[in-house]
């Protein structure tokens, strides 16, 4: 969570990092639930951002996201993270079907000089809530995933980042000729997160 200082409207790099990484955890869970990557019964309901959200109870997924968030926090705090991509792939063919793209712009001044910014938690939460609502409503236009799917997370980092032990360099897992939908964005005044989902063109559309 954001560091709770005397004034609520002050936000530090660490607090912003916590908000962004937490957001990513919830967003990933929400996507996994809404896109049916894991069975419905493996999710539990919690209240967050003023919304009922679903969190995976699967130990594997929980550990994965926890480990991921730890590493992402480290990069976010160093201002080295440019983008996080949650990729949904076909389990059978490994074909990339959806890319949930979270672009991150970091305020360089904050990272370099350690200054803080001013924005209320409430406002940030409201922005995040809008994104969460959009993720939940995305099932209306995204094509059906009618085969078993797996997910993977890609991190676009600066070139000078040392690759951690549990990470490895990867290809960007792009979709050829994708459809794109831009979702809302949120800004902590330190990190600006733009959300975009690109997905494989449904053949039915073209016929």
């Amino acid at each position: 969570m954001a560091s709770k200082t005397a004034s609520k409207d002050i936000i530090t790099l660490r607090g912003s990092t916590a908000i962004v990484s937490e957001f990513f955890g919830y967003a990933a869970n929400s996507i996994l639930y809404n896109r049916g990557v894991y069975p419905e019964e493996s999710f539990g309901r919690v209240k967050k951002y003023g919304l009922p959200l679903l969190l995976s109870q699967d130990e594997g997924v929980k550990t994965f996201i926890a480990n991921l968030n730890t590493q992402l926090s480290e990069w976010l705090e160093a201002g080295k993270l440019q983008r996080i991509v949650l990729v949904i792939m076909s389990k059978a063919t490994n074909e990339v079907l959806e890319r949930w793209n979270f672009s991150i712009e970091t305020d360089r001044e904050v990272v370099e000089k350690g200054v803080s910014r001013e924005k209320s938690d409430k406002e940030i939460m409201r922005e995040i809530q809008a994104i969460m609502r959009q993720i939940a409503s995305s099932i209306t236009y995204l094509p059906c995933l009618d085969e078993p799917c797996i997910f993977d997370v890609l991190a676009y980092t600066d070139k000078d980042v040392a690759v951690p032990f549990t990470w490895t360099e990867s290809d960007p897992k792009l979709i050829a000729n994708p459809q794109m939908v831009k979702l809302h964005s949120f800004n902590t005044k330190i990190h600006k997160v733009d959300t975009l989902v690109s997905y494989k063109n449904d053949e039915w559309d073209e016929q």
């Binding site: 594997g60 550990t63 994965f64 793209n101 890609l154 980092t157 980042v161 490895t168 990867s170 831009k182």
Partner: protein, 717 residues
């Protein structure tokens, strides 16, 4: 021992013993006397046998010496005997010992024999077993040999099949080449034929045309002839008619003359006439012949027409042929161009791919169309903006027109006022003239007081008029100024308008450019592109997923293995029943099994590696935790009495002064509880537990406080 002197009876000479040599009887010889009696030894043998005193003394001394030495020796022997006895005893004891040892060794030997027996038995068994195994192996070997032979046979068959197939292939190739050659030849032949035919057709055409010409000439000749013959015919007919007429006349004459003239003359005339008639008849025949020839000419003409038609047809056919050839060439060209196109199209190897390629291209086209639609939409937006700008420009233009009109009006007014001015000046002049005239009149009339008032009035009006004129002039000047200013304003506005329109256009262009740029960038961004110079893409090694996947794969593979084993058994049974049918399947399955085993091995290896990596990382994490928070943390899983699994954490501060200083916590689904032990039950610690954990509900505060306290204790003590 020294030999003593021999007994006397032995001194008696023996008759039989004389023959023996004197040295062999063992007589006592004094060695001192030996050199003297030697020469007479053979003569005085009996005298030498006597013992002298000296001798006796010597003997005695010798004897005594001998005795003493013998005594000594006996003593020695006694001692020796004793020592020997001792030795004997010792050796007896040793013997006993050795006997014991012997017995023991015998026992050992017996045991060893038993052992050996047992080992031999075992060995025997093993030998038997190994023999059995060997037998089995031999059996298997023989089976394998048979299999091998079968395999070899199969291989030979396959090879023979292969060679036959190769031969066939070569045959076919030969045939193919033969066929292609024959096709080529045929083609060449056909082409030759075609050229021949063409030539022939040309020849025939020329021939036909020559014939035609000939026929035409003939026809024209025959036509001419016909015309001539007709003319002849006509003349002959007229002649015939005349002749007939003459004949009739002659007959009439004859009839009239028969009664008048002599028959002889008549007869001559008749004859003459008959001859003439015959001549005429022959002429008629000729004419008929001519007529027939005329009919022939007609027929020939018809034939000619027919021939002409045929020629035309042939010509048209030739034309068609050339057209067909051109078409053929065109088709060939098209074919070659298609082939070239096919070669040029990437990813197309055969004609079947072309529709697919076309589909892809059509898709691309559709996409392009969609993009174009987007672009046109944007264009429309821009157009709308342009329209708005145009409207604004028009507004400004109308405004400027209005101001122009105003200016015109003002000019008109100015003119009007100028006219007014001129009229008033004229009037003034006139009035001045009148005044002058009046003045003159006044001078003339000398004081006509009547006019004075009018003059004054007129003068006053004149002044007023002049004032008016001045005012008007000033107003005109003002108007002019205003006009000039408005002109300037209009010019400025016009300039601004044009600059604004230019700016609008440039902005529109900029807008378009930026839009396209934005679109490109957005598409790139959405697509996930990145510059490899500043960014790298990382992904987390999803060990859990991989692990579970690997486990699943291993399970699946194991299941498969089981299945294949079952299958193998079934097949082996079948094989036993049906002999060699199963051998092929057998080898295939064994290959598969080996492959699967390899897969399993690699997956297991990977699992091991992941585990190792995980353990490594965990240990690093633990050490870091210990360093950072000052506690060694040991985690282990327990099960409560009711079967619920809980995780127990044992914390030991690095500043702890004894091993008993341990804190125990239980962690279960997000809740951490402290467990009581000897250490926490100490009054000081329990107090802290009460305050920090029970009241303030903060374990970190408690541990931190404890750390600080332990640290202080350590450093202060």
């Amino acid at each position: 021992m020294i030999v003593r002197t021999p007994p006397l009876k032995k001194r008696r000479p023996d008759a039989t013993g004389n023959s023996e040599s004197p040295k062999s009887d063992g007589r006592f010889v004094i060695f001192e006397d030996l050199p003297e009696p030697e020469p007479e030894l053979s003569h005085q043998h009996s005298d030498q046998m006597l013992c002298t005193y000296q001798c006796r003394q010597l003997v005695k001394a010798d004897f005594l010496d001998a005795l003493s030495s013998a005594e000594k020796q006996s003593q020695d022997y006694q001692t020796k005997l004793e020592t020997m006895d001792d030795n004997l005893r010792k050796s007896e004891a040793e013997r006993m010992k050795f006997r014991d040892q012997l017995l023991y060794a015998e026992q050992e030997l017996a045991a060893a024999k038993g052992c050996e027996q047992a080992l031999q038995d075992q060995l025997l068994k093993e030998v038997n077993e190994s023999q059995e195994r060997l037998r089995k192996q031999i059996h298997i070997h023989s089976e394998l040999e048979t299999k091998f032979r079968k395999e070899m046979e199969l291989r030979k068959n396959a090879e023979s099949l292969l060679s036959s197939a190769k031969q066939k292939a070569s045959d076919l190739e030969g045939k193919l080449s033969h066929v292609s050659e024959s096709i080529e030849r045929e083609k060449v032949r056909l082409q030759k034929e075609l050229t021949q035919l063409k030539q022939e057709s040309k020849f025939s055409m020329s021939r036909i045309s020559a014939d035609l010409e000939r026929m035409e000439c003939k026809a024209s000749n025959s036509e001419k002839e016909a015309v001539l013959l007709k003319e002849q015919l006509e003349s002959l007919q007229t002649k015939l008619n005349e002749c007939l007429h003459e004949k009739n006349e002659v007959e009439k004459k004859l009839t009239t003359l028969t009664c008048q003239e002599f028959p002889s003359d008549d007869n001559i005339l008749v004859r003459h006439l008959r001859e003439e008639l015959r001549n005429y008849e022959s002429e008629v025949r000729e004419a008929r012949k001519w007529k027939a020839s005329h009919e022939d000419i007609e027929l020939l003409r018809e034939k000619l027409l027919e021939e002409k038609g045929r020629r035309e047809r042939a010509e048209s056919e030739v034309l068609k042929l050339s057209e067909a050839q051109i078409n053929g060439k065109k088709l060939e060209d098209e074919l070659s161009s298609w082939k070239l196109v096919m070669k040029e199209i990437p990813g197309v190897t055969s004609a079947v791919d072309i529709p697919l390629k076309f589909e892809a291209l059509q898709k691309e086209v559709l996409e392009g169309m969609m993009k174009m639609g987007e672009v046109t939409a944007r264009l429309k937006q821009v157009e709308v903006a342009l329209d708005v700008a145009e409207n604004a420009r028009q507004n400004v233009e109308t405004e400027s027109a209005l101001t122009n009109e105003k200016m015109e009006l003002l000019k008109l007014e100015l003119k009007r006022t100028e006219l007014l001015l001129s009229s008033t000046t004229e009037e003034r002049d006139r009035l001045k003239i009148i005044v002058d005239q009046l003045k003159q009149q006044k001078n003339v009339e000398a004081g006509t007081a009547m006019t004075d008032g009018t003059v004054k009035e007129l003068e006053a009006s004149l002044v007023m008029k002049e004032d008016l004129i001045k005012k008007l002039e000033s107003s005109i000047l003002e108007q002019k100024d205003v006009n000039a200013r408005q002109h300037n304003e209009i010019k400025l506005l016009n300039e601004r308008l044009s600059s604004e329109s230019r700016r609008i256009k440039s902005l529109e262009r900029e807008d378009d450019r930026l839009r396209s740029e934005i679109a490109i960038l957005e598409s790139k961004l959405g697509h996930g592109d990145f510059s490899s110079s500043s960014t790298k893409v990382l992904r987390m090694v999803n060990s859990l997923a991989v692990d579970s996947e690997a486990k699943q794969t291993i399970e699946a593979l194991q299941n498969e293995l089981q299945k294949t084993k079952d299958k193998l058994q079934a097949i082996e049974e079948l094989k036993k029943q049906s002999g060699d049918a199963g051998t092929l399947v057998d080898s295939y399955i064994s290959g598969k099994v080996v492959q699967l085993k390899e897969q399993i091995a690699t997956l297991e290896k990977r699992e091991e590696r992941y585990k190792a990596v995980f353990a490594d990382r965990i240990s690093v994490f633990r050490r870091a935790c210990c360093e950072l928070f000052g506690y060694k943390i040991v985690m282990d899983d327990h099960q409560r009495s009711d079967g619920i699994p809980v995780t127990r954490f044992t914390l030991q501060s690095i500043y702890a002064q004894s091993d008993d200083e341990k804190l125990q916590f239980e962690y279960e689904s997000g809740n951490t509880k402290i467990l009581g032990n000897n250490y926490t039950q100490q009054s000081e610690i329990s107090h802290q537990v009460e305050i920090f954990i029970r009241k303030l509900n903060s374990i970190p505060a408690f541990t931190a406080n404890l750390t600080v306290e332990s640290f202080n204790k350590r450093t202060l003590s």
